[in-house]
Amino acid sequence: MKIVAAKKILKANDQLAAENRASFDAAGVFAVNLVGSPGCGKTTLLEALFGQAGLAGRLAPAVIEGDIAGSIDAQRMDAIGVPVVQINTEGACHLDASMIAAAASDLLGEEGARGRGLGTGDRGPGARDQGLGIGNEERGATPMAGSSSLAPSPQPLAPSPSSPATRLLVIENVGNLVCTAGFDLGERLRIVVLSVSEGDDKLVKYPAIFQSSHALVVTKIDLLPHTNFRVQRVADDMKRLAPAAPVFQVSALRGEGIPALADWLLHRAAAR
């Protein structure tokens, strides 16, 4: 017998991503998928945005950190007081929508994550662990153990009906310019990070991830004098691949360009 399917492969992921997006919208959460190669400065950029640029005080951010192993990035978020959940993919080269659904329910509280109501997130640590474990035993999503910022949250991500403020959820994807392009996580914005030290030819070599992004952030511009990186070439290539996407040039270490990026993020979150 023959079954004619004619269906998209990864439809399951796309469906889950659509559910995530609907849940985030219902809970007033603005989700950003931050992608880029390992070492391009994604976490340092977040530290600069939340810390120096003061976004933490204005958007009540939370972060989902995706890494193959370890919780180094989550510890860095924890150190600056940003609620964080670490996902260890244990070998998988990208995050998928099901991992985000599990991690977000931990960060947002079950109700907030499912968009049914505006949850208080007031669950005990045991409930959190349990919530994370559902359907995710092998992926090993783990909250920061003993982290004070993950205790019943003083700043629940899901807003109460009286405070319709938008909250920012940054999903820092596994460092990878290839696989991350194929998996929608339910984000409203995809931001790709490219560091000066990676070279200016990456848009030509990995077009899919750049074409699917809403903004490009060129990091480590303090290194420009020491390299042959041409910012103009990157800007031209991005214009060709994603004409509407702005290109930001930043040095997270020196703070250069960070305020402009923070303003743009605030603007996009408000226009949600």
């Binding site: 017998m1 023959k2 079954i3 004619v4 399917a5 004619a6 269906k7 998209k8 492969i9 990864l10 439809k11 399951a12 992921n13 998988a92 080269c93 990208h94 998928d96 290839v178 696989c179 392009a181 194929g182 077009p207 899919a208 074409q211 214009k239 060709r240 691949l241 004409p243």
Partner: protein, 116 residues
């Protein structure tokens, strides 16, 4: 890219379609469409499917992969050319006012199975 994850999704989807059709048995043939711009390498996908299909209803299935062409259509001069990678500039007139058509799909076309 992540052909293992794609193969995993294909197997799950085939199993789901077979269940939905109320059928059972061994799958003899799976037809897939892989767009040239989808980022999926057909050879790697085949290799991953070989590995992951063991012990499933797809174990002895023939995997057929059909490519899907991509085109670059120019709004300035009207040219439409087949392309192999994401290029957003018209080869005829150099305009960047172009639209990419096709080549991005990853589809499960059809499944054939021998019912038991």
């Amino acid at each position: 890219m992540h052909e293992i994850a794609i193969a995993d999704a294909v197997i799950e989807q085939v199993q789901g379609e077979v269940r939905r059709a109320g059928a059972s048995g061994q799958v003899t043939r799976v037809a897939l469409v892989v767009g040239r711009l989808s980022g999926v390498n057909p050879d790697s996908l085949r290799f991953a499917l070989d590995l992951l299909a063991k012990g499933t209803m797809l174990e002895s299935a023939r995997i057929e992969i059909v490519g899907q062409n991509a085109f670059c259509r120019c709004a300035a001069c009207g040219d439409r050319a087949e392309i192999d990678d994401l290029e957003a500039r018209c080869r005829q007139c150099g305009s960047s006012d172009v639209a990419i058509e096709g080549g991005r799909d990853l589809l499960l076309e059809s499944i054939e199975l021998e019912e038991c």
